[in-house]
């Protein structure tokens, strides 16, 4: 099936099966590799993107359900003011170990700050809890979110 998706502000056309998860459309049909596969089952958050501003696990989102929604991925989030603040904070604190989860973490953090510019520790934990980091960078993730929130 032919689909036109709005990704990072651009309309992009792809030919994929209806049930193809957005994750694989982004990665393999659009060559946007920053959205990552960790579990394929909504259990890790590595594949998080924004759909109309909401954080969504793209591995669970069939392409046929997207319609004209606006999709933002890790490749595009740095171009938004909140995304820029978050990525700057991520670099200042150097959150990363392997980095594989970090795209999803940044997308979740950006969605959090968009809704809640000054999140408490509890707010941060509630928003981020399902986002697994196998390397265990959680302390720095928290720190970076707080740093980004200070700049708002």
């Amino acid at each position: 099936m032919h689909y036109t998706l709005n990704v990072n502000g651009q309309d992009r056309s792809v030919d994929v099966d209806d049930d193809t998860p957005l994750l694989w459309v982004l990665r393999d049909a659009m060559n946007l590799k920053g959205t990552r596969y960790g579990c394929g089952a909504g259990l890790c958050g590595a594949c998080t993107v924004h759909i109309d501003g909401q954080p969504v696990q793209s591995c669970r989102m069939p392409v046929s359900s997207l319609g004209t929604s606006k999709i933002v991925t890790i490749e595009g989030i740095g171009d938004t003011p909140i995304g820029k603040r978050i990525t700057d904070a991520w670099l200042k604190i150097d959150v990363m170990q392997c980095g594989y989860c970090q795209g999803g973490q940044i997308m979740a953090a950006a969605a959090l700050l968009a809704q809640n510019p000054k999140p408490s520790d509890d707010d941060i934990v509630t928003a981020m809890d399902g986002h697994l980091c196998r390397c265990g960078t959680y302390l720095r993730i928290k720190q970076a979110i707080k740093l980004a929130a200070e700049g708002s």
Binding site: D28, K33, T87, Q97, C98, M128, R134
Partner: protein, 740 residues
């Protein structure tokens, strides 16, 4: 449990446990400190002074990162060593990841926390030797003596006021003979401008933009996608499958049975490990999603092999029966533990058990291979490309020298990517279809086809004399293997602390043979054994009525450096970290009800760590971690404090996941868990503050991938004992057992 060839190789330096793999796979060995050359094995590109350093006319310096980056930070840390002695500004530096290139680089692997100890001096020497020829070139041009020249920020200066950027000197310098690496003079550490400065990961700016750095991100023109469906029962094989139906599904290019190829058996961690091409069904499609989806329609008749009846219950019952008898093999015996137990003033006995664990790297195993048209090229997240090359060549029937391996960034590794099984699968599939293929394991494949951390069951009897000194330690355990041969990482080092400090001590084992694959997981062996030993030592401290830290210091004895089994163990360094952590955590302070502090220490991979956990246990058994303190001694210099703290905290958090969350079980010969719902790392909610302090001791710097991990598990369970009087003797912690 160290192979003798390794023991001989580096006197005084504990060889990497993980590097056992490297050694058996590569006759040349990967562990040779001081054998570095400046790398002229392969044609160098323009501006290159040697295999590590290239300088462009605009004075941009490109340094090669030779080892696999798996999240431990070596792609930044190793080039920092070169840059320091080269005397350039870090801002001038670009870093390139090396391909596997044994002609130019030694020790291209990630394992055993060995990158720092193996490279700390050689890479500084390479930087210094490169600087030496640049200075020489300037001195010759100016007709002055090199000794009158100085360098800074990538420039050579002379007292006369003359100066030149390195970029202008490269051509002349490249013609000069490089000095003997061992003879070059290294900087006085007080002059360091890069080493010891917190430095952000070289790939970090790319990672926050989602750049395609990982193996799973590789794209090759004309590439197809594959899944490989293996028998869920370990040791099983394929009888038949509905391949004709599968081939008719949309986008499917091919589907075929892979019979599997002779297992590649080698020594790893004092035991035997086996990797290689397992039997299964390959499905190749024009997209990964289509290949993966086709598995829903796949019908396979398996031959489930000899181990289909194995299960966690079977293992536990067998272990129980074996622990009821004398161990089949006693491999360390000092004095007469049985007699000493009879005459001891006080004896205690305890049983401990811990489960199998998976690695579950967040990036599942994957590899892109192109074995066709005379090509044999691989792109993979691998910790041990040298072994991959041997495995691929042997299995695919190609020459080792024709195998090209591009090392990609790894989305975590933790020992899993030493095994390279996914690489040989990708190569086989590519060879069959005659096109480049990207094989991606699903998360389910990854959890169910791991090389698991082996489970174990221990029974220990300890005896104290009237003064509360340990006089007897009789230790029997059930593990995996065959006869007197442990499975990979299933052994207990005969030198394990506190062996050698107790007059009457024995280690004995009985082994279960199984088809479950086992292998190294971060801090192999220690990740389980340190929990058992440090827990039982805590039990003995309480039985003796002593403070656990005072007791630990008393057992330690004189603060001297002595061999411990095959390793060199410094009681002084243990004392250093124990004393530090005691101060950090305010040991002995008054705590609220049902709250406790627990302590433990370990020595592994050349590093020393003592850790304290403060835990509170609610009436319903829920455990809350208030804080962790870690004092770590990895020598006199932390190369990159930014990465070091992250590694230490990550190791602690990883250990806490062993204690609280993780467990792999088996039923009908197969793995029960299949995804993160069954085997989860710690989540943010579970993570306590982790305060890290590095104790700088006057020893060569060593690595941080592993040493901070083992002690946190017993520190936590010892804290739970302090809080509740209940002793956790089975992992992961069962809160129900702590209720009330």
């Amino acid at each position: 449990m160290l192979p003798s060839e390794l023991k001989k190789r580096i006197a005084g330096l504990k060889p990497s446990r993980r590097a056992f793999l490297a050694v058996s796979a590569a006759a040349g060995g990967a562990l040779v400190v001081g054998y570095y050359t400046l790398g002229r094995g392969k044609a160098l590109k323009d501006g290159a002074l040697n295999a590590f350093v290239t300088i462009a006319p605009d004075n941009t310096v490109t340094l090669v990162a030779k080892n696999p980056e798996i999240g431990q930070g070596v792609k930044t840390m190793l080039p920092m060593l070169i840059a320091e002695e080269l005397d350039v500004d870090w801002r001038q530096v670009n870093i390139e990841q090396a391909d596997f290139d044994p002609e130019n680089f030694k020790g291209q692997y990630a394992g055993g926390s060995m990158a720092t100890p193996e490279n700390y001096t050689p890479l500084r020497q390479i930087g210094a030797a490169t600087r030496f020829v640049l200075v020489q070139a300037a001195a010759e041009q100016w007709g002055v003596s090199a000794s009158e020249c100085t360098t800074a920020s990538g420039m050579v200066h002379h007292a006369s006021g003359k100066s030149a950027p390195y970029g202008a000197l490269v051509k002349a310098a490249a013609k000069l003979k490089a000095p003997d690496l061992k003879a070059v003079k290294l900087k006085d550490p007080t002059r360091y401008t890069i080493i010891g400065k917190p430095t952000i990961g070289i790939d970090s700016p790319k990672l926050v933009r989602g750049a395609p750095l990982f193996g799973i991100d590789v794209e090759v023109p004309g590439m197809l996608y594959a899944v490989f469906h293996k028998c869920p029962v370990f040791g099983g094989s394929v009888k038949s499958a509905n391949l004709d139906e599968i081939k008719k599904l949309p986008g499917i290019k091919d589907a075929f049975i892979v019979a599997g190829a002779g297992a590649h058996v080698f020594e790893a961690e004092g035991g035997t490990a086996s990797t290689g091409l397992q039997p299964g069904i390959a499905i190749v499609a024009d997209s990964w999603w289509r290949a993966q989806k086709a598995r829903d329609s796949l019908k396979v008749v398996w031959d489930e092999g000899p181990y289909a009846h194995h299960s966690s219950e079977f293992f536990a019952q067998t272990a129980d029966a074996l622990l009821a008898k004398d161990p089949a093999w006693v491999y360390r015996k000092d004095g007469d533990p049985a007699a000493a137990l009879k005459t001891a003033a006080k004896t205690i006995e305890a049983r401990y058990d811990y489960p199998f664990l998976a690695h579950a790297t967040l990036e599942p195993q994957n590899c892109t291979a192109h074995v066709a048209d005379g090509k044999c090229e691989f792109w993979a997240p691998t910790q041990l490309p040298e072994a991959a090359r041997g495995l691929i060549a042997g299995t695919l029937g190609v020459k080792e020298k024709d195998v090209v391996i591009h090392i990609t960034r790894s989305g975590g590794a933790f020992g899993r990517r030493l095994m390279n099984d996914y690489m040989v699968e990708a190569g086989w599939i590519s060879q069959q279809v005659g096109a480049p293929v990207k094989l991606i394991w699903s998360r389910e494949d990854d959890v169910q086809h791991d090389f698991y951390r082996p489970a174990g069951w221990h029974k220990i009897k300890g005896g104290l004399d009237a003064e509360g000194k340990i006089v007897a330690w009789q230790h029997a355990f059930v593990s995996f293997g065959k006869g007197h041969e442990f499975a990979s990482c299933a052994g207990l080092d005969p030198g394990s602390y506190p062996a050698g400090r107790i007059p009457n001590l024995s280690f004995g084992t009985s082994l279960i043979q199984t088809g479950v694959p086992m292998g190294p997981l971060r801090a192999p062996s220690e990740n389980a054994m340190v929990w058992v030993f440090q827990s039982f030592l805590d039990e003995l401290a309480h039985a003796a009525g002593k403070d656990p830290i005072d007791f630990a210091i008393a057992v330690l004895g004189k603060p001297e450096t002595k061999p411990l089994g095959a390793e060199v163990f410094s009681a002084a360094r243990v004392l250093g970290v124990l004393t530090k952590v005691r101060t950090m955590c305010g040991w002995g302070r008054k705590l609220p009800a049902r709250t406790g502090l627990g302590v433990a220490f370990s020595f592994c991979h050349l590093g020393y760590a003592a850790e304290v956990v403060e835990a509170a246990v609610a009436k319903d058994g829920t455990v809350t971690l208030n804080q962790v303190w870690a004092a770590i001694d990895v020598g006199r210099q932390i190369v990159n404090p930014m990465g070091a703290e992250n590694q230490a905290q990550g190791s602690v958090i990883d250990g806490l996941a062993h204690a609280l969350n993780e467990k792999i079980t088996f039923a009908n010969g197969r793995t029960v868990q299949s995804n993160f719902d069954g085997h989860s790392p710690l989540t943010m909610r579970q993570v306590p503050p982790v305060e890290v302090a590095f104790v700088l001791s006057d020893h060569e710097p060593s690595g941080l991938g592993e040493p901070a991990m083992p002690p946190v598990i017993p520190a936590l369970t010892n804290a739970i004992f302090a809080a509740t009087g209940k002793r956790v003797r089975s992992l992961p912690i069962d809160p129900a057992m702590l209720a009330g």
